[in-house]
Amino acid sequence: MECIITIELGTNAVRVYAFDLNGRMLGSLKGYCPTFHSEPDYSEQDPDQIFITMLYVLKNLLNDLVHPKKYKVLSICFSASMHSVLAVDKRGNPMGNAITWADNRANKEAAELKKSALGKKIYKTTGTPLHPMSPLTKIAWIKNNEKEKFKQASKFLSLKSYILQQLTGEYMVDYSIASATGLLNIHKIQWEPEALKFAGITPAMLPDLVPVFTSTGRLNKAYQTSLGLSADTKLLVGSSDGCMAILGDGIIGEGMANITVEDSGAVRVMGDKVLQDEKQLFFNYLLTENRYVSGGPTNNGGNIFEWFTRQFGDFKNPFDIEDSMMELINKASGISPGSDGLIFLPYLLGERAPIWNANARGVYFGINIKHTKAHFLRAVIEGILYEIYSIGKTLQQHRAFNTLSINGSFGTLPFFVQMVADIYNKPVRLMHNYHSVSYGSYLISATEMGIYNSLDEAVKTVVLRDIVTPEKNNHGTYLKYYKIFESLSTKLANEFADIAALQQS
């Protein structure tokens, strides 16, 4: 029997899945990898710990499941979080930790570039919003602030490129991860000279640019031995977690949108054209030569509900946040939609799409004497999903969609799904106990090995069985409150700036 392995290098865990050739999941394991915050704005991961964690988890899955049942591993396909940057020296050794997407140290570089004419031009060619998340601004930050390190650096890699290099000796980056660096011209699919100039680097300092189906060189002999894999096991460079999630949910063309609610969240659409937006609201990532994934990310997803639970949940058992969250959801369901006029802006972590305001903060609005703890709770969940709606609404001005699919550990909670359906007034499709990112990686592998004739054909086989339809009366109620939500989110810009300044002093 033969199987396909997928590896997701996420910001807080490495996840390894095994699938048979028909896409049936055989098993999975994860391994936690910490994110370090040595300064308030910093967010870093240790590349070697990720590498070791990946080896450990992969080895365990192979030894527990794949080898005992005599599965032959045909290919291993990788996905990873976007926007990471790792400087390596001339021997290929990391110069400190990798900087992750959540790192805001390049705030100043991003703000200045965004205001400039050059910035507008770079956004147009690269499709990546000018934001501290973007490797373009991070590398510029290193150039401006760590001159010695910048001088010594021989390459700037994504975390996935580093891991692949450790396994095979080759430096590669796939189109999708590359298109999230702010350095790639997504129309011509080559590094953008003006962006590279701003970052102060040359193309030789970046990994080789390759399509997502590319197989890297052979797995190093030592790893073949320690993992028990044969020399002909293919390693596929793969794509980013965001692009994989949308594939895994069966989206390959226009007319559909995909929502992810994990700790953070995103709304994405796919098409064969870039979404050009004057206000630079969207990202546009490249999946293949003729497919772009466009959308907007939010900082404030399930992590805000978790924050609320930590403060106000019951915690009958120590650290059992799942149980406390379920109990809160139960209580929230007893309150009517709209929380009887209590509105919550979830911007505890600043916000990206659609307001792109790092200074934004959380707000309760409309509190009256009848509101109870349960109202405050329901308002939090509504606020998180109003934000998801506001991204979708902005996207819809550029590209119409009729159906929605949803994934993510929070997104697939029944209470959340129903609320998304009601707020959008559209049916929402999903599948429980399903990991969209890994399934997307399986589809890439299966297409590459010819099980499907094309990626389109592969993705069309995905059927999300569960459909949640909107309840008629709720949409109108939500919409009335959403109007106020939307207006507050921009109206308070001055006060957000003032309070953020006070909080930072």
Binding site: D48, L55, Y56, G92, A222, Q224, S226, P318
Partner: protein, 295 residues
């Protein structure tokens, strides 16, 4: 409790307890200038407030203590009233002679029946706490009272009981401190704190009991919680950090393999080499060679 004061070398009651420098209770009915001096010494002190309100500084930070509150002053930490004033009220205290080893760990001494690993965990917990004050910790008051009556009544077994009660106070304080710093709500941040402690002292032979104690959980619940959160058993997670750190050191070519092995907590270079090869397929020296070439 009535007022009393027993001092080592003067009080016969302390003859069998050379580790107790001083124990006493004071009831003060009028403010006394120069009655409570700000001092630093190398003993460990525990104060328990019974009545009144006391403004004390510990390690140059001001604290106000109310009845039921306990202050813990670690060796070498400045303690007293800022103006040297003894305020109105009553409190009991004990000063213990506690040694500190080179690594900064508190060594309770031969009187204690805590195991080595428990002592290390207790020491870590007491030292990593941000506040030296436990509020409303009346258990300490009861223990103080029992110690006092054991010392004065000297019934059969009192030597053992006093020492047990001293252990008891350390155990109760550690549990209370770890409950306060880990209120059982935020495992991600609790786990980050633990991970930080592990990295700070990677060469130490950590036991699961020690790790669990730092997080304020029993070992069974600790194992389950770590496993479901991280996918690793606590020991596997520790090995992962050890190897990740070793990789970094291997890439700096000037440290020898035995030092790397010991610094990252392996028993020997042999143990390091086998563990490393099992996971990576390379021996540490092959790995080093591969990564010292210019690419």
């Amino acid at each position: 409790m009535n007022q009393f004061l027993l001092c080592q070398k003067k009080a016969v009651e302390l003859l069998l307890f050379p580790h107790i420098e001083e124990i006493g209770v004071i009831k003060n009915s009028a403010i006394r200038l120069n009655g409570f001096l700000n001092i630093v010494d190398d003993g460990l002190k525990i104060y328990y407030v019974q009545e009144g309100k006391f403004e004390w500084t510990i390690n140059h930070r001001p604290f106000i203590l109310y009845p039921g509150d306990v202050a813990l002053i670690l060796p070498g930490i400045a303690f007293g009233n800022e103006n040297n004033v003894l305020e109105v009220g009553s409190f009991s205290w004990i000063h213990l002679r506690i040694k500190v080893n080179k690594k900064g760990q508190l060594l309770t001494g031969s009187w204690s029946s805590l195991s080595d690993s428990e002592t290390r965990a207790v020491s870590k917990i007491l030292q990593m706490n941000s506040s030296p004050v436990l509020q409303k910790f009346t258990e300490a008051g009861h223990i103080f009272k029992s110690i006092q009556s054991e010392l004065f009544n000297q019934e059969i077994g009192y030597q053992a009981r006093v020492n047990h009660l001293l252990d008891e106070i350390f155990i109760q304080m550690s549990r209370q401190f770890s409950r306060i710093s880990n209120p059982g709500r935020d495992f991600p941040s609790t786990f980050m704190k633990l991970e930080h402690e592990l990295r700070q002292d990677l060469s130490h032979q950590w036991t699961v009991e020690e790790m669990a104690a730092l997080v304020g959980l029993g070992t069974t619940l600790f194992n389950d919680t770590v496993k479901s959160y991280s996918g690793f058993s606590p020991v596997s997670y520790l090995i992962n950090i050890r190897i990740s750190e070793a990789i970094k050191l291997l890439k700096k070519s000037d440290i020898n393999l035995t030092d790397i092995a010991l610094d990252t907590g392996f028993y020997s270079s042999q143990h390091f080499s086998t563990t490393f090869k099992k996971l990576t397929g390379y021996t540490p020296s092959q790995f080093r060679k591969n990564h010292s070439r210019t690419k």
